[in-house]
């Protein structure tokens, strides 16, 4: 299979097999490569399962279709959350961690055998939890709030999965040490690796919180512990549940930077600014776990306000910075490539035909406009009173974790296939449309769930007609419309997701092998330089040097800011009309 010549390198007395990447000239540890492949394949399998379950959920919530019966619905919804949010995303993140450490640092992976143990634990844990849920007596949602009680194996599977992920993080940190000891790079780590460090740091906090709460809950389900405080459970559980979303944010921002760098040669405008933004993530992003506890009795407003704001919105500041420096770096790179006309030639003439680029840019836009804005509004202490546990919440996080993270990871896959699997992407004509189908579908379900939530529709709810309730109630007709539209866009997203799975699997199995000759071609369409290569003398050491003026990016962030502020104030206006509460 391996066509490029394997090179045996002995670094620090430890033998590792490497090949040289024909595109980037990086030395790639074959053990790391195998692990990246294994984790990526597992990720895609769980996405396929979870995506189908998502469609079933959406079709049941579409009142005109109302596909599943209630027990099945709650079981499928539990499984959907677990398979996509935990299994798909975290397997893919393991692949990213190994890539950002071993590959980008030109280094061997520390202790690949431990990384394999991690992988096996994660697979075993995921399967155990999935099978337990399918038994039907563990439909407790992926949040498993006590005193809802699942079978012990539900918790045990999650614990195994988390232990595996923790070992994976340790291998990542170990690889950083190896790379430094063995001097495989000079100076500081690349920005993408730095973003991966932020993700891994947050992952350690996430998994620690998970262990603190899931191990006692498992013992409780076995009968060894008599009582678990409901509020304590929620506080610590969300230290895991929400922080794991912050792993995603760090990881997909790193992916944005990586795709922009690989396809367009984009450089960070300023290493200092982008890294400081990641530092804000490391310090403050996890505090937003409080988003889920804003209408909870028993926690003070001081605690709520401080934590929900990520310490005076410093982590939001981090995201707002990335939201400008990612398109800014692209604009600077494209202007360097010669697309200097007007405000937006750089964007119009970007390689939209390349699914890695279109997926990345759609992810950036939708994460900001849909997921980001709704998240800050939802996470405002008092505004949360109008949204807690309504469909607004899944609306928000399908904007972040589906339209944002999932789409970014899909986009990255179109580079992982040629660079790591060394296969050309099959059906490039279809691949071109895949990010659009999935992106528009995901954007649609986000928006319509946000809409239904604004009308008060409850999340995780089988029957919004309340046919079996003694005290009847009707949601407004618009709510039914919203859920119908949600169903239609869910179909679109599923088609896009199925296309992604099909293209990925087909490419891995049957794609044309990538050699030195076709390596660049295999990356898909790239921007043509329209300037003489001589003028690359202008290329500075950091992205903004010589290209400090970025009118297109300024316009984009200005539009974003206005949308953000308007929507923010509209919600305060709504709140002021609510029944007084004190």
């Amino acid at each position: 299979m391996a066509t490029a010549a394997g090179e045996i390198g002995v670094i620090g007395g430890i033998a590792a097999k490497f090949r040289t990447c024909p595109v980037t000239a990086l030395k790639i540890d074959l053990a790391a490569e195998r692990l990246i492949k294994a984790n990526a394949v597992a990720a895609v399998v769980f996405l396929a399962i979870g995506g189908v379950l998502g469609l079933l959920v959406a079709l049941t919530r579409w009142p005109a279709v109302h596909l599943l019966d209630s027990d099945t619905f709650y079981m499928v919804l539990t499984a959907h959350g677990l398979n996509v949010l935990l299994f798909w995303i975290i397997f893919f993140e393991m692949a990213i961690l190994y890539f950002a450490s071993a590959v980008l640092l030109n280094c061997r992976l520390a202790a690949p055998q431990f990384a394999w143990i991690a992988f096996v634990l994660m697979v075993a844990g995921a399967l155990l939890t999935d099978f337990t849920v399918l038994q039907g007596d563990s439909s407790v949602m992926f949040t498993s709030y006590v005193p809802l009680r699942a079978s012990p194996n539900f918790y045990l599977g999650l614990i195994l999965f988390a232990v595996g992920a923790l070992i994976g993080c340790m291998v990542f940190f170990g690889t950083l040490v190896v790379a430094r000891e063995e001097r495989t790079y000079e100076g500081s780590v690349p920005l993408v690796t730095f973003g991966a460090i932020a993700a891994a740091v947050i992952a350690v906090f996430t998994i620690a919180s998970g262990a603190i709460i899931l191990i006692p809950t498992w013992l409780w389900s076995l009968g060894y512990i008599g009582h678990i405080d409901t509020l304590m459970y929620k506080l610590v559980w969300w230290g895991m549940g929400h922080s794991s979303q912050q792993i995603n944010v760090s990881a997909h921002v790193a992916v944005w930077y990586a795709i922009a760098a690989i396809l367009l040669g984009a450089k960070p405008l300023s290493e200092k600014v982008s890294r400081t933004a990641f530092l804000f993530y490391i310090l403050f992003l996890q505090l937003a776990s409080a988003h889920h506890l804003l209408v909870e009795p028993g926690l003070s407003s001081e605690w709520k306000v401080f934590n929900t704001s990520y310490a005076l919105y410093l982590a939001v500041l981090g995201s707002l910075i990335h939201g400008m420096t990612v398109p800014g770096a692209i604009e600077a790179a494209q202007r360097r490539n010669g697309y200097v006309h007007g405000m937006f030639e750089w964007l119009r003439r970007a390689p939209w035909g390349n699914p890695a680029f279109s997926g990345m840019f759609l992810s950036l836009v939708m994460f900001g406009f849909i997921g980001g804005i709704s998240g800050v509004v939802l996470g405002t202490e008092q505004l949360n009173i109008m949204m807690h546990n309504t469909l607004y919440v899944p609306g928000h996080f399908h904007g972040t974790v589906v339209a944002g993270t999932t789409l970014a990871f899909m986009a990255l896959t179109y580079l992982v296939l040629p660079l790591i699997f060394r296969r050309e992407v099959m059906w490039p004509g279809l691949a071109k449309w895949q990010p659009w189908l999935f992106g528009i579908g995901a954007g649609g379900i986000s928006l319509f769930m946000l809409g239904a939530g604004t009308l008060g529709v409850a999340r995780r709810h089988w029957d919004i007609t309340f046919a079996d309730a003694i005290l009847s109630f009707d949601y407004p007709a618009t709510a039914f419309l919203m859920l119908g539209l949600n169903g239609i866009f869910a179909i679109l997203a599923t088609v896009g997701g199925a296309l992604y799975v099909a293209i990925t699997v087909a490419s891995v199995l049957f794609g044309r092998p990538v050699h030195e000759r076709n390596a660049l071609h295999a990356l898909g369409p790239l921007p043509q330089r329209v300037v003489e290569s001589g003028s690359s003398a202008q290329v500075g050491r950091h992205g903004s040097e010589g290209f400090g003026h970025l009118p297109g990016t300024y316009t984009l962030v200005a539009v974003f800011f206005v949308a953000f502020a308007l929507y923010y104030f509209v919600n305060w206006k709504y709140l002021s009309e609510l029944w007084p509460l004190s």
Partner: protein
């Protein structure tokens, strides 16, 4: 490139473009504004969640609700079997969340304030007042007291919006709001 180490050994001192600095400044100030907005609303706004909470044994809370219903019951809610309870303005009002109902049906007066007690007899539930769209989490073992002031009359529903098992989607409640001085 972001996938390679920075080109200069010391990158911390590299200048930052003006446009970037301006945006960072705006974003930072906006963050401060949003932070102080929450504090401002605590001082001047009318919609803030109360922090008055007590630990209570669930069966103890059920007893309190039963006593409350006994004291202020004015009849039945149609033929639903639910007691209709009309407490005097300004008083303590009790609502019990349990599998799978909000009990009893309350009748409140428009423009009057009530100290609404919320707690659960068993699992966690979600108090979601519709179509007002006012949502509060309900825990077993925690008695949460919020002061609430209906501003419109009519029939309002309480929907459970925390997943609470097989009958979650049947779990509703009702609050009737009448014009001041009527209906007692």
């Amino acid at each position: 490139m972001a996938v390679r180490p920075p080109e200069s050994r010391v990158w911390w001192n590299e200048p930052v473009a003006t446009g970037e600095l301006v945006w960072i400044g705006i974003a930072f100030l906006w963050g401060l504004f949003m932070f102080f907005m929450m504090i401002y609303w605590h001082l001047e706004g009318k919609q803030n969640l109360s922090a008055e909470v007590y630990r209570v044994k669930p069966d103890r809370y059920v007893k309190k609700v039963e006593a409350f219903v006994e004291q202020y019951r004015i009849g039945d809610e149609g033929d639903t079997g639910y007691p209709l309870v009309a407490p005097p303005p300004g008083s303590d009002v009790y609502l019990l969340a349990r599998l799978w109902e909000f009990w009893p049906v309350l009748q409140l007066e428009k423009g009057q304030s009530y100290r609404l007690h919320l707690s659960s007899a068993d699992w966690q539930h979600g108090f979601s007042l519709q179509p007002v769209n006012l949502n509060i989490q309900v825990h077993p073992g925690l008695e949460h007291i919020v002061t609430i002031t209906p501003t419109e009359s009519g029939v309002f529903s309480v929907v459970c919006n925390e997943f609470c098992g097989a009958g979650h989607h049947q779990m509703t409640g009702r609050i009737r709001v009448v014009e001041p001085g009527q209906g007692r």
